[in-house]
């Protein structure tokens, strides 16, 4: 299991919202991975001793813990640890941590230390804006001209009544979730550009052709070129790695 799906599984056990803490934890993880890759490259050709001494799974776990805090979806450290341990050892006989066990306290202290290491890798820049809120706002804006022809209804009832638009909203939302599966999409664009990109792709896949790319970009007040770059990222830009 790669680390992204590992984080997704643990987040699911913790019942974390997909659009906030889960997405943010993945965002943190991609930045950690970029940092570690860069560290490895800078130490290439040197001897074994300076090999990165950071444990990836432990940091992935810290990403979840920190995301819970910054997204105000409170989960106890104990719960994060238990969920991670259960996912990691679900195939073995002892998949539950026991607080009587010395191992539990060792893991807990390690996770607290790993959280401090994580915020240092992130340079304490922990605020992540996800595109989801923008998507809702944008879809509402895009539906406004159509509402004029259907009197006495707000955008919520309009979406429910129009199957195509319901599908558009769902597809956009799913695209926004998928943004966080890949570092190239999640580390490159800002939330507003990503939101526009998610809707552009969703409009294509749901065949709502009258919603042009230009119309969506105008509503989001973003550059079409930026949206194009967000959809087809060429490489991972250096995300605030000094």
């Amino acid at each position: 299991m790669n680390h992204v799906s590992w984080i997704l599984s643990v987040a699911q056990v913790l019942e974390l919202p997909r659009h906030s803490s889960t997405a943010v934890a993945l965002h943190y993880w991609h930045r950690v991975a970029a940092f570690m890759r860069r560290e490895r490259e800078s130490h290439e050709g040197q001897n074994e001793g300076v090999k990165s001494a950071l444990d990836e799974k432990l940091l992935a776990c810290a990403c979840l813990l920190l995301a819970c805090k910054t997204c105000e979806t409170n989960r106890r450290l104990r719960h994060v640890l238990n969920a991670a341990f259960w996912i990691e050892h679900s195939n073995s006989a002892n998949s539950f941590l026991n607080t009587d066990d010395e191992m539990y306290w060792q893991l807990k202290d390690s996770l607290i230390a790993a959280e401090l290491i994580l915020v240092r890798i992130l340079a304490f820049d922990t605020h992540v804006e996800t595109p989801h809120a923008y998507i809702i706002h944008l879809l509402q804006m895009l539906s406004e001209p159509l509402l004029e022809h259907t009197p006495s209804s707000d955008s919520a009832t309009f979406f429910l009544a129009n199957e195509n638009y319901t599908r558009l909203a769902q597809a956009s939302w799913m695209n926004a979730n998928d943004v966080y599966l890949d570092p190239r999409t999640c580390l490159n664009g800002d939330a507003r550009v990503l939101a526009a990109a998610c809707i552009v792709l969703a409009a294509q896949s749901t065949h709502l052709t009258h919603l042009s790319r230009q119309q969506i970009c105008n509503a989001a007040r973003v550059d079409e070129k930026d949206v194009e770059d967000a959809i087809c990222p060429k490489s991972v830009k250096k995300f605030k790695l000094k």
Partner: protein
């Protein structure tokens, strides 16, 4: 070889991580402390020099309590919010640097306002809305409007409006100022979670009328508040959060419209110095003699700031010179905005 700490992963593999790991942060050794400025809510604030570019910064040492759940949420919130805020009168967090001890980190900030000398522990209590005192969990931005009212009142009174020591005392002060809350003016306040912890029937809590007019009409040498200013405070300090003025209403309030000077962007505000009233605290805004067109009403806080710069703050020396020069000169206009309070900008010239 550096010291390492042994960490156990959820995979049960063990790794040795260097204790001085700093990631992408800068080490705190990059800054040289040159003085102590004061103590904030979460730690001590130093004046420091960034060795890489010789710039003066404020360095805040954040105390890290070893908490059961790792990094404290309050510290994370403070860093994250200050990073996102951008305003001339609010310190800007430039970066977070890291000390040697794993459980200690510093905040490098740009200076803009002299630190508040009041004990920070109670500072929030003074501005706390009654519904929060009564344990309301779902409080709204109306609670912030209450705080705005307290601060506006403080500017007019030239002293804290409701300086409560503990929660019950805070409530006593509120009642002394505004009178008893009743079901008529604040329906269902007795249903709030902590309402039964406060006794509203003691003699101290018996106060039928609001004394806000008397309190703000003459105190501490501050000029009497104008009728519209009084009205604005009264509209902000309303018991029932639902009936309290909101931001929109406050901006439309007649105080800002009927009485000059009209609102303007901060950089356009000009303070008028009146050298005739001497170096006392009321010099900037003192009474009638300087009540010209450019005068601000209720400048107690600015006068306090000035007092602070002249007396308590070692760091304010450069700014002090500026004020003395002003005092020699008659009717000198000191532009107010970010500049005069950002005394460390003067270092760069």
């Amino acid at each position: 070889m550096n010291a390492t700490q042994r960490l156990t992963s959820v995979t049960l593999s063990v790794s040795d991580t260097p204790s001085n790991f700093i990631g992408t942060c800068r080490p705190v050794d990059d800054f040289e402390k040159v003085g102590r400025v004061g103590e904030g809510t979460y730690g001590i604030v130093y004046k420091a020099i960034d060795k890489s570019n010789q710039k003066t910064v404020a360095l805040k040492r954040m105390r890290m309590e070893r908490e059961a759940d790792g990094l404290p949420l309050s510290a994370l919130r403070e860093i994250s919010l200050l990073r996102r805020l951008s305003h001339t009168n609010i310190v800007r967090v430039m970066e977070v640097c890291v000390g040697q001890d794993l459980a200690d980190f510093g905040l490098a900030r740009q200076f803009s306002v002299p630190p508040c000398p009041m004990t920070p522990k109670v500072v929030t209590l003074w501005y706390r809305a009654p519904e929060i005192l009564l344990g309301e969990r779902l409080y709204t931005e109306a609670s912030d409007m209450w705080s705005a009212g307290c601060i506006f009142g403080e500017l007019l009174k030239n002293a804290p409006l409701l300086p409560g020591k503990v929660e019950p005392h805070q409530f006593e002060l509120i009642i002394a100022l505004l009178g008893n809350p009743t079901e008529r003016i604040w329906p269902s306040f007795r249903d709030l979670p902590l309402a039964n912890l406060f006794r509203f029937d003691t003699p101290k809590m018996q106060q039928q009328y609001s004394t806000i007019k008397q309190v703000l009409s003459s105190s501490n040498g501050a000029a009497a508040a104008s009728p519209q200013a009084l009205e604005l405070v009264q509209d902000l300090l309303v018991y029932d959060p639902k009936r309290r003025l909101d931001t929109r209403g406050a901006l439309r309030h007649s105080y800002f419209r009927r009485e000059g000077p009209n609102p303007c962007i901060p950089s356009a505000i000009r303070l008028r110095f009146d050298s005739r009233s001497g170096g006392g605290g009321g010099g900037i805004f003192g009474g009638g003699s300087s009540a010209g067109s450019g005068n601000l009403r209720g400048g107690g806080a600015i006068a306090n700031l000035r007092k602070k710069l002249e007396g308590e703050q070692q760091q304010g020396q450069d700014f002090r010179r500026k004020i003395r020069r002003v005092d020699r000169d008659e009717d000198f206009d000191l532009p107010v905005g970010a500049r005069p309070f950002r005394q460390f900008d003067l270092d760069e010239k």
